[in-house]
Amino acid sequence: MTELALVLLGGLNFGAIYALAALGIVLIHKATKTVNFAHGAFVLIGALGAYIVQVQLSWSAWLAYLLVPPAVGALAALIELVLLRPLRRADAFSVVIATVFLGIALSEGVRLIYNAELLTVPSPFQGAPFLIGPVILTREVLWTVAGSLLIGIGTTLAFRRARVARGMRAMAANHRGAQLCGYSVDRTYALAWFLGGALAGVAGVFAAPAKGISPDLPIAVIAAAFVAAVVGGFDSLKGAVAGGLLLGVVETLAAAYGDSALKNAISFMLLFVVMLYRPEGLFPEVKTRHV
C-alpha cells in the first residue's frame, strides 16, 4: 500500500508536467487551429531558463518561476509573428511540417550552445519531506503537483471568464465569425502563442529539477503532451490537465510493476485505445452543428 502510494505520487509529479505541456498545446490549438509540434522544444527552453537562472546566475529558484514563462511566451509569440504568420494562408500540412522542423531547429540550437548530455538543476526546496504515515511526500512533489493544478485551473477559468481571452474563445467557436465581429486575428494569435509558450515555460521550470535537461526532453515531452491532449479531448483545457495526470500515473505504474519497455509503450497503447474507441476524448467539447 505504501509502495503504491509512493508510485502514485511520483506519477502525479510527472503527470503535472505533462498536464502543463498539454495545456499549452490545447490552448494554441483551440485559438489558432494549429498543432504545435515545436512545443517540446519550448519546454526544453523553459527548463534551460531555469538552469540559467538557478545555476548560471545563482539567483533564487523563485525568480525562475517569475522570469522564464514570460520569456518563453515572448519567444513563442515572436515565432508566430515571423514564421507562422506568413504560413497562415498555406494549408495545415505546411504548418505541421513547419512546427516539426522548428522544434528540431530550436532543440539543435540549444544542444549546440549547451553541449552537454545532461544538465541538472537543484530542487528549489531543501526542507525535510512531509511524512503522512509511512508515505514520504517531498516538498518538491507537493509544489509541482499543487502548482501545476493551480495553474491549470487558473488557465481554464481565465480562458472561460477573462476579457482578454474572449477573442480566443470566439476564434475557437467560430473562426470567421470572430473575425467578422472585429476580433483581430493577428492579436489573438499572438496572445494565444504567448500564453501557450508561457505554459510551456512553466512546464520546463517544473521539469528541470525532476527530469534534468537532456536532448531527449523535447520528443519525450511532445509525445506525452500530445497523448495527454488526445486523451483529454484535444480541445478541452480541463481534459488536458486530467489527461496529463492520468498519463503520468499510468506510465509510472507500468514502470513500477512492469518494465521500462512497458513504460515506453503504455502511453502509445493509451493513445491508440482512446483514438479507436473514444476519439472525442474524455472531455469532448460540445460542437454546434451547422445545417
Partner: protein
C-alpha cells in the same frame, strides 16, 4: 440556423491564383519520363565509379536515399500524409533482410525482397488508421508505430541483438563478393535503377493522379469513384515497400545495424527529402534525397551544425520555396510558359464533339430518376420530409426553394454523401445503395459542386480523365504500370477527354493546372469532368453561383446544348431563379423539407403557393 458558412464563403478569392501562377503544368512529360530517374542513378554510378572508395561508399548511400525519397514522394508529396515512421519502415526492411540471410540462409536478393515485403506489411498496418485519421492525428499515429517498432527491436534481444546491434554479413550474390565499395555501389545502382521505374510509373500515372485528387478534395474524389481509404492504404503500402527495400540496401553499407540508426531522428530527417526536393513533383523526393544525403558528407567539417542547418533549410523551403528544388528547376524551364486564360470564348455554335453512341432524344417518357418517400432528420429538424418526385429521361429538372428547404440534403442523399433515414432512390429502375458516394459513378450518376471542387494540383486534362471512371484501386495501380507501354485504350480515352474538354471550350488549356483557371472556367471544367463518362443523370449543384452574369448566360447555353446533343438528364439546384426558369423543362419547388409545387417553369413561378414560400402571404407586406 442560418447557413452562412456554406453559402457564401470565399467566392471572390477563387479566381486569384490565375494571376499569380502562370506556369504550365509540369506534367507535360513525354511517355518515357518514368525512365529518367533510373538514368540519373546510372549516371551517378558512372561518375563515382572512377573516384575513390569513400565517394563510392557515399554514392551507395545517396542512391538508397533517392529510392527512400521517391517512396516518400508517393506518401508525403502526393497523398500529403505526414509520416514520422520512415525510420521504422527502413528498420523493418533492414532487419528483415539481414535476419533472412543470417537466420534462414536466404540468398541476398530474395532476402532483400523479403525485407521489403515485411516493410510493406508494416505499411499496411500504418495505413489502416489513415482510413480514420488525417493531419496531425495521423502524424502522431505514425510516431506511435515508429516508437513501438523500435521498442520491439530493442527488446527482442535474442533475435535482433537489441541495443547492441546486429552484424550484417558481407553481401554476395552467387558466390561473387560484393563487399568492396565499388562492387556494392554497382549492385545498389543497378537494383535501384531497375526498381525506380515502378514508383515513377505510379507517380506519373493514374495512381499519382488520383492521390493528388484525394489530397486536393476528398469529397469530389469520392463522387468520381475514387475510394479514399483504398488509395491511402495503397499509398502507405507502396511507399513502405520501396522504403523497406532502401533499408535492406543500406544495411550492408552500415555493416552493423542498431535501433538508433532507425530512430525518430531518421524519420524526421527523411521527412525533409520530399519537402526540400519539392512536394508537388514526382522528382521531389529523389532530388531531396540526393541532396540531403550527399551534403552531410560534403560538409563533414560542420557536422555539428548539420541538423540545425537542415531544419532551417526545411523551414526556408516551406516559407519561401514551397515548390522545393524541383519547383525551382521547372520554373526555370517554363519561365516563358503559357498563359492560362480562355482567349476566345467559344460561341454557342462551336462544334461539339458528339459522343460515339449519342442516345436517342428522349420522348419516350422513361423515368430516369425516381425519388420515393425520402426523409432525413437531424435531431429535431426534418431537413427532408417524405419527398417524392420523378425526373423524366432527357429532361432538365430544376429544384428550387428558399434556404433551409432541404434541397442540398436531398441532393446529397441522391449523390450518396448523406444517408437518408427513409425512402428509396432509383435510377432507371435500379435502387441506389444508401450513403455510398463512391458507387454512384458506376450507376451512371455524376455531379458538380456548389463550391467548385476541381482537383487544383493536377492538369485540366487529368481532372477530366478522373471523370472517365475506372478509379478502383486495382485498375488504377495496374493501369499506372501498363500505361507507359503502347497499345491499350489510352488513345481512345484521350479522344474522349479532348472531346469533353472541347465541348466546354477548354481544349486548349488541357495542360494547365486546374487551379490556374478562372472560376467560370473551373465551373466548365467541372461540367466536362461530369459528362465525359456520358452519365445517365447529372446533378448540378448551383452551377452558376459566383460567376458573372455574362458567364452565367454562356454556362446556361452550354448546359442546354449538352442536354440536347448528348441526351444527359439533369437535376439542377440553383438560387438564380431566372437562370433556373430559362434552363429547366420542369421545376420542383421545396420548402421546409417538402415539395410544395411542381410543373412548367412559368406556371410554377406564378403559383400562389410558391409566391407564398418566397414572399410571404399576399398582402402581408
Amino acid at each position: 440556423m442560418f447557413s452562412f458558412k456554406r453559402k457564401s464563403t470565399q467566392r471572390g478569392s477563387l479566381a486569384l491564383p490565375l494571376t499569380r501562377e502562370r506556369r504550365v503544368d509540369a506534367r507535360g512529360f513525354s511517355r518515357w519520363a518514368w525512365l529518367a530517374p533510373s538514368m540519373v542513378v546510372l549516371a551517378v554510378l558512372l561518375v563515382t565509379a572512377r573516384l575513390g572508395s569513400y565517394p563510392q561508399y557515399v554514392a551507395s548511400l545517396v542512391i538508397s536515399a533517392m529510392l527512400t525519397g521517391t517512396g516518400l514522394t508517393l506518401l508525403v508529396g502526393y497523398a500529403r500524409c505526414i509520416s514520422l515512421a520512415t525510420g521504422a519502415v527502413l528498420a523493418l526492411g533492414a532487419y528483415g533482410s539481414v535476419l533472412l540471410i543470417t537466420a534462414a540462409g536466404v540468398p541476398l536478393l530474395p532476402a532483400m525482397l523479403g525485407g521489403a515485403l515485411l516493410a510493406g506489411l508494416g505499411g499496411f498496418v500504418l495505413g489502416v488508421p489513415a482510413v480514420r485519421f488525417r493531419g496531425h492525428n495521423l502524424a502522431m499515429i505514425t510516431l506511435v508505430f515508429q516508437s513501438v517498432v523500435i521498442i520491439l527491436i530493442r527488446e527482442s534481444t535474442g533475435l535482433t541483438g537489441g541495443a547492441g546491434g546486429l552484424t550484417v554479413p558481407a553481401p554476395s550474390i552467387a558466390g561473387i563478393s560484393l563487399s568492396g565499395d565499388l562492387a556494392y555501389l554497382v549492385f545498389t545502382a543497378v537494383v535501384v535503377a531497375l526498381v525506380l521505374v515502378l514508383p515513377m510509373a505510379l507517380l506519373l500515372g493514374r495512381f499519382g493522379r488520383n492521390l493528388r485528387a484525394v489530397s486536393g478534395n476528398e469529397v469530389a474524389a469520392q463522387a468520381f469513384g475514387i475510394s479514399v481509404p483504398h488509395h491511402l492504404v495503397a499509398a502507405f503500402v507502396c511507399s513502405s515497400l520501396i522504403i523497406g527495400l532502401s533499408g535492406a540496401l543500406q544495411a550492408p553499407v552500415f555493416r552493423v545495424i542498431d535501433p538508433d540508426t532507425f530512430g525518430i531522428n531518421t524519420s524526421i530527417s527523411t521527412l525533409a527529402y520530399p519537402i526540400v526536393g519539392g512536394m508537388g513533383s514526382a522528382w521531389g523526393g529523389l532530388a531531396g534525397g540526393a541532396v540531403m544525403r550527399a551534403l552531410p558528407e560534403v560538409l563533414r567539417g560542420l557536422a555539428d551544425y548539420l541538423e540545425l542547418f537542415f531544419a532551417s533549410l526545411v523551414l526556408v523551403t516551406v516559407l519561401f520555396f514551397p515548390g522545393g528544388i524541383a519547383g525551382q528547376l521547372f520554373r526555370l524551364r517554363h519561365r516563358h510558359g503559357g498563359q492560362v486564360t480562355r482567349e476566345s470564348v467559344p460561341s454557342a455554335a462551336s462544334p461539339v464533339a458528339r459522343p460515339a453512341a449519342g442516345k436517342a432524344l428522349p420522348d419516350t417518357a422513361g423515368i430516369a430518376l425516381s425519388i420515393d418517400g425520402v426523409g432525413k432528420q437531424y435531431g429535431a429538424l426534418k431537413a427532408v420530409d417524405d419527398v417524392s418526385f420523378q425526373v423524366r429521361e432527357g429532361e432538365i429538372r430544376g429544384l428550387m426553394g428558399p434556404n433551409g428547404a432541404g434541397k442540398t440534403t436531398l441532393f446529397n442523399i441522391v449523390s450518396g454523401f448523406v444517408e437518408g433515414d427513409r425512402g428509396a432512390i432509383r435510377l432507371h429502375g435500379e435502387t441506389l445503395p444508401s450513403g455510398s458516394p463512391v458507387t454512384r459513378m458506376s450507376h451512371g450518376l455524376t455531379r458538380t459542386f456548389q463550391h467548385v471542387a476541381v482537383f487544383g494540383e493536377i492538369s485540366v486534362y487529368d481532372n477530366v480523365a478522373i471523370g472517365l471512371g475506372g478509379n478502383g484501386i486495382a485498375p488504377v495501380l495496374l493501369g499506372s504500370l501498363l500505361d507507359p507501354f503502347p497499345g491499350g485504350d489510352a488513345r481512345r480515352e484521350r479522344a474522349r477527354i479532348m472531346a469533353a474538354l472541347d465541348s466546354v471550350g477548354l481544349a486548349h488549356l488541357a495542360r494547365a493546372k486546374a487551379r490556374q483557371l478562372s472560376l467560370g472556367d473551373q465551373r466548365r471544367l467541372e461540367i466536362a469532368r461530369a459528362i465525359v463518362s456520358r452519365p445517365r443523370l447529372l446533378l448540378l449543384d448551383e452551377p452558376v453561383s459566383g460567376v458573372s452574369e455574362e458567364e452565367t448566360g454562356q454556362l446556361g447555353l452550354l448546359l442546354r446544348r449538352i442536354n440536347r446533343e448528348q441526351g444527359i438528364t439533369m437535376l439542377l439546384v440553383e438560387h438564380n431563379i431566372g437562370f433556373l426558369a430559362g434552363m429547366s423543362d420542369h421545376i420542383t419547388v421545396m420548402a421546409a423539407g417538402r415539395v410544395v409545387c411542381e410543373g412548367e417553369p412559368a406556371s410554377v413561378i406564378d403559383d400562389p403557393a410558391v409566391q407564398e414560400v418566397y414572399f410571404g402571404k399576399a398582402g402581408d407586406a
